[in-house]
């Protein structure tokens, strides 16, 4: 069953600044629909007198992503929010290999004594002098 990795979305914006116009429009029009479409994400809307409007996304593995939404239209903010809702909290860096195993070797990894006769490593029962 699908578990959404996005825990909460915090929308921080100022009620009077000019660049938060898109954020205010988003809150008035689109935020309710977004919250209904994504019932497992908690949406916090907090107007504060701070500098720039921010969209904070917190994921289940603890990563917090901040996105600036200054001078963005409410559709762009909605697109951003849906994109963040579909991501997991892993860092967005280059994946070195598309595969990973915890047990790479089933038969035992090769070491320099694998194909040598076992008389070199095994000490047999000590023969009594006869």
């Amino acid at each position: 069953r699908y578990v959404r990795q996005l825990q909460r979305l915090q929308l921080l914006f100022s009620p009077t600044a000019a660049d938060a116009r898109g954020a205010r429009q988003f809150v008035e029009e689109v935020a309710l629909d977004f919250a209904r479409q994504h019932p497992d994400v908690v949406l916090y809307v907090s107007p504060r007198p701070g500098p720039a409007p921010l969209l904070l996304a917190e994921y289940l593995n603890g990563t917090v992503r901040e996105e600036l939404i200054a001078s963005k239209t409410s559709e762009e903010i909605a697109q951003l929010a849906t994109k963040l809702a579909g991501q997991s909290g892993l860092d967005i860096i280059r994946i070195r290999k598309p595969f990973h195993t915890d047990n790479p070797s089933v038969q035992g990894q090769w070491h320099p004594l694998t194909n040598k006769p076992s008389a070199l490593t095994v000490r047999g029962p000590r023969l009594q002098p006869q």
């Binding site: 089933v106 038969q107 090769w110």
Partner: protein, 149 residues
Amino acid sequence: MVLLSAPLWLRSRLTDRFWRVQEVLKYARHFRGRKNRCYKLAVRSVQRAFVKSTKARREKKRFLRALWITRIEAASLEHGLKYPAFISNLLKSQVELNRKMIADLAIYEPKTFKSLAALAQRRRQEGFLAALGDGKEPEGIFSRIVHHY
């Protein structure tokens, strides 16, 4: 009235020079010497580094293939077979494993690799018998070809 060009006394100054410089320097941080600190030297080094990394993607394939071949050669020599004999006999027995997989098997699955070497050796013997024996002995078992149509 609309002014089509700005007056001469109006200046626009560059305010994010710091960030434009940092965009280049962040790729030079692990370099040696003043190239990792001074912008003028870093620009040249970063440009060359990017060009080299682009061109090296083609060489990487060649390099890795040579590495796998070296490893397979070492592993098959432990079992008494040389690399050309091993690979050609594996192909004749319709085992279509590429060098990457055979190298990984040789490292992580030594018993499987031993059985592959034994298979190649058996096919080699059957090939010698077929070439030198001239039809009187029955055909080899591992020389039979399976058609997958």
